[in-house]
């Protein structure tokens, strides 16, 4: 018992490897938030008129709201006037048009993070949009995507090149008045990815965005909008890291997905923001609103997330199943260690007939962390034959952590079939002993068992991400098992 415990604890105590800071000349706004700052952001981005108004409307609404307190997380009040709402690496001229023009220091940062943008041109792999603090620095594979008719670009570019699409869809899934952080994001968002898949197109490659917070005292507010027209298909990945700092930084993103008839969107996240040190100092507050609207018939939206980072994670990727026969899926692994807190889950709103949803959530809690699953399954009156299956399992490692489940089910349709299962367990001594007796070290055994616990979710991830996620899990677990 004691030997394995110690070894496991050693294993869980690894360092955050993405915690470096890149020394760059940055163009950063002074801290503070008011209508002038919003106008300045809008001007910086050369946005059309409607967007500025939309931002101001969101800001004015935000001022009337109070920070929500219902989540099972604790953090001191955030001073929204103390942070900067815009930070961009300084560049000469109008910004990078191709990878050759990008600041080599930046490219090196991404190389350290394991996304060599330059190499990607050669390796026929994944198209990457990299977002550094407030701006998008490079988008790869633009030409090849354009051939297929796919638009994949920073949202700040999309508002200039495709304003009609942005105007039509922006805020149509997550309205500015949706919640506190969504309203804030709508007012001050600085960049994000924009994806448009035209009718009948199957996106020829995986699309991916890499988010990085670099500058101190800034908040990152990105906005992602993905539109899949009739009978199209896209798979989108996002990854995130941040430097190690003692103060907390806010990340309040909004992601909107729209799937029209027969379209399918698969959205995968590996979230590895800096989680703070083992005493709970520093780390990112990850307060994100993600929602997909299955607007068309037979459409499908699938969320897969691996949440290992952030001091506090607070996000509920949701599916609004409006179209008949539409499908929503949510696969999640949330790992919390040390003083991390995660309050995460999903909402499945069944509106159309024969809509189906699946929720698989795996929470792993170690150290002094609190891991919460919070989910809502709502079946409205018109959602005949709606079907939901929910499974949320928790794994506790150590006796000082907590794992909680708060599912809500609101059913107004007698033909609906809703099932919910939850269980809580720990890694048993027997399991560990069995592995060790077969010559597997304690660390590897724990990793193996945890990976097995998460297998149902990992198998939903694209190949490259699945490998990364498994490795990440091993690192994040270091020093936690008891």
């Amino acid at each position: 018992m004691s030997t394995s415990t110690q070894e496991i604890e050693k294993l869980i105590g690894q360092d955050y490897k993405q915690g470096f800071v890149t020394d760059l000349d940055a163009d950063t706004f002074p801290p503070g938030l008011n209508e002038d700052v919003i106008a300045a952001i809008s001007a910086k981005k050369k946005e059309p008129e409607f967007l500025l108004e939309w931002r101001l409307k969101a800001y004015r609404h935000w001022l009337t709201l109070k920070s929500p307190e219902w989540a099972f997380v604790k953090f001191p009040p955030i001073d929204y006037q103390a942070m900067s709402y815009y930070s961009a690496p300084k560049d000469k001229g109008d910004g990078p048009k191709s990878i050759e023009e990008v600041d080599p220091k930046l490219l090196e940062t991404y190389k350290k993070l394991g996304i060599p943008l330059a190499e990607q041109e050669r390796l026929a792999g994944v198209a990457v949009d990299a977002i550094f603090d407030s701006v998008s620095v490079a988008t790869t594979f633009k030409e090849k995507l354009a051939e297929a008719g796919v638009i994949f670009c920073p949202i700040s570019e999309a508002v200039q090149t495709h304003p009609e699409l942005v105007q039509q869809y922006l805020g149509s899934v997550v309205p500015v008045s949706d919640n506190y952080f969504a309203a804030l994001n709508s007012a001050v968002f600085t960049d994000g990815s924009f994806v448009f898949i035209p009718k009948g197109v199957r996106c020829p490659m995986e699309l991916s965005t890499y988010f990085r917070i670099n500058a101190a005292n800034t908040g990152q507010f990105e906005r992602t909008l993905i539109i899949a027209e009739e009978s199209s298909h896209v798979s989108y990945l996002e990854g995130c890291t941040a430097p190690m700092r003692d103060e907390n930084q806010l990340h309040a993103a909004v992601v909107e997905l729209v799937a029209l008839d027969n379209a399918e969107i698969k959205y995968s996240t590996v979230q590895n923001w800096y989680p703070g040190d083992e005493n709970g100092v520093g780390g990112i507050y990850n307060f994100v609103t993600k929602r997909g609207d299955c607007r068309g018939q037979n459409s499908k939206i699938s969320w897969t997330q691996v949440e290992t980072g952030s001091a506090i994670t607070w996000k509920y990727p949701s599916c609004v199943l409006t179209g008949d026969n539409s499908v929503g899926e949510f696969y999640s692994v949330a790992l919390t260690n040390n003083h991390q807190q995660a309050d995460t889950g999903t909402k499945m709103i069944h509106i159309g007939k024969n809509t189906r949803s699946t929720i698989i959530s795996k929470g792993i809690s170690a150290g002094k962390a609190q891991n919460i699953y919070r989910g809502l399954v709502k079946v409205l009156k018109g959602a005949e034959n709606a079907r939901n299956y929910t499974q949320c399992d928790s794994l506790l490692i150590g006796d000082k952590c907590g794992a909680h489940t708060f599912p809500y089910m609101e059913i107004r349709q007698p033909t609906a079939q809703v099932e919910h299962e939850a269980s809580t367990s720990k890694i048993s001594e027997d399991q560990l002993f069995y592995c060790m007796q077969r010559g597997i070290s304690a660390e590897d055994a724990v990793c193996m068992i945890v990976n097995g616990f998460c297998k149902e979710v990992f198998k939903e991830l694209p190949m490259e991400f699945a490998v990364e996620a498994q490795a990440l899990l091993g690192i994040s677990l270091e020093g936690s098992v008891g």
């Binding site: 907590g402 349709q413 008891g482």
Partner: protein, 439 residues
């Protein structure tokens, strides 16, 4: 508006103060006063409170209820169908103990069974020692309301190692219109004792009224308490019933709740478990018309090796709305806890609604906790099977609905009680032409 009902109840308290049980006891007066202050500040709970998000008690605030003054007359025959054969019975009419209708057992060997009014006079020390010891934190407006205004209730005290052979029935009858029935019960089972209690709520007449009953139950080491609650209020009644139980080491509580009546109903069961103690909570709720039935349970595993089992079933027809909230909390030191919760619901109409919130809050790692919830309708295959055997579709559905509910009734050990609950179930089931003789 909202001020009006608070003022009404404050003035009711002032008017009744002299006649309330235990009015000569300073500690109780202080307690009532505090509770009244709390109530006049907070009022009844609002749906903004997380624990009440699916139940809006505003209709209760819109009407003003008053405790009954005088002696209500109830025909003994009208209560016959609610009495459990072989049980001693304490009858409370409109919140007041009625000796003529009751059969109080001969209390032998220090066993105390008496109405609260009498208890305050004869056993004030006993009451003072235990009163309020389970409900230390009054979490809801109804608790403060009850503490301030309770007009009667039962005191049951079992000394160490005592066992009461016959079950004890507490029968609460509401007969007058707009009456407020506030019963407060205190049941203390000392180490190694054993008792079976049946709590029934009955409404005679058609007018609306409010029942706000609270029970504190202390199950000491190695004791065993069986508790059944049968709620058959009338169709216009508002009902709040809360059981707050503390179970000592190796103690056991078996609770089952059958909720059929009432317009707006909230059943609460709170159990805190000590080392190696066990509880099982079973429940069946059935609602039709515009009924709203909320079942709220909380099991707190405070110490290691506790075992809890929970199984609730709900049937909702027409425009009824059902709520089930099951909360299981496992404290940091409650290792080796074993907890299971199950909730199954049947929706029979497209206007019915069910809201479910099973919650697990776990702070210990070496535990086994699981919960499962399902919502569905009667399977077409089962109906088809019966049809192929010559049963028409409507009858088949009724049979299957009954069978779904009867699983919970079948768990009752005592035949007299089982038969009584089954009668109530058959009455409450929508459009059944099932006859008891066929079963």
């Amino acid at each position: 508006m909202s001020v009006q009902f608070k003022e009404h109840y404050v003035s009711q308290y002032s008017a009744l103060q002299a006649s309330l049980p235990g009015t000569g006891l300073p500690w109780l007066n202080a307690l009532r006063k505090q509770a009244l202050d709390r109530f006049s500040r907070s009022g009844f709970p609002s749906p903004r409170e997380e624990e009440w998000r699916y139940t809006n008690v505003a209709p209760i605030e819109r009407k003003l209820f008053s405790p009954f003054v005088g002696t209500a007359s109830v025909d003994s025959a009208s209560l016959a169908r609610y009495r459990v054969d072989g049980a001693a019975c304490l009858v409370f009419v409109d919140g007041q103990f009625n000796a003529a209708l009751s059969t109080v057992p001969e209390p032998g060997e220090d066993i105390v069974i008496c109405p609260m009014g009498e208890a305050m006079e004869k056993h004030p020390d006993l009451v003072e020692k235990h009163f309020g010891s389970v409900i230390q934190r009054e979490s809801s407006g109804f608790l403060s309301f009850n503490t301030a205004l309770f007009t009667d209730g039962a005191l049951v005290f079992l000394p160490e190692g005592m066992k009461i052979d016959c079950p004890l029935q507490l029968l609460y009858v509401s007969a007058s219109p707009d009456v407020l029935s506030t019963a407060r019960n205190l049941v203390v089972a000392q180490p190694g004792s054993q008792v079976e209690i049946i709590e029934s709520y009955v409404g005679l007449g058609d007018a609306g009224y409010l029942t706000a009953a609270v029970t504190e139950l202390l199950v000491a080491d190695d004791s065993y308490v069986t508790w059944s609650k049968l709620q058959s209020e009338n169709g216009r009644a508002f009902h709040f019933g809360g059981l707050y139980a503390d179970v000592g080491p190796n103690g056991r509580l078996d609770h089952s709740s059958f909720s059929f009546g009432g317009l707006l109903v909230r059943n609460e069961v709170h159990v805190d478990l000590a080392e190696a103690s066990e509880c099982s909570l079973d429940g069946l709720f059935l609602a039709t018309g515009r009924q709203h039935v909320d079942n709220h349970t909380r099991i707190g595993h405070r110490k290691p090796h506790g075992v809890s089992r929970e199984f609730y079933k709900g049937i909702l027809d027409q425009r009824a709305r059902g709520v089930f909230q099951g909360r299981v909390i496992v404290d940091q030191y409650a290792q080796k806890t074993d907890s299971e919760m199950n909730n199954r619901n049947l929706l029979l109409s497209s206007d019915a609604e069910i809201d479910i919130k099973p919650q697990l809050e776990i702070y210990a790692d070496d535990v086994k906790c699981a919960h499962g919830v399902t919502v569905g309708q009667i399977e077409d295959e089962s109906v088809f099977y019966l049809q192929s055997r010559g049963v028409d579709a409507v009858a088949a559905r009724n049979m299957l609905t009954f069978a779904f509910a009867n699983e919970m009734v079948g768990k009752i050990d005592r035949p007299a009680l089982r038969s009584l609950v089954q009668d109530e179930l058959l009455d409450a089931l929508p459009a059944t032409n099932l006859r008891k003789e066929w079963l």
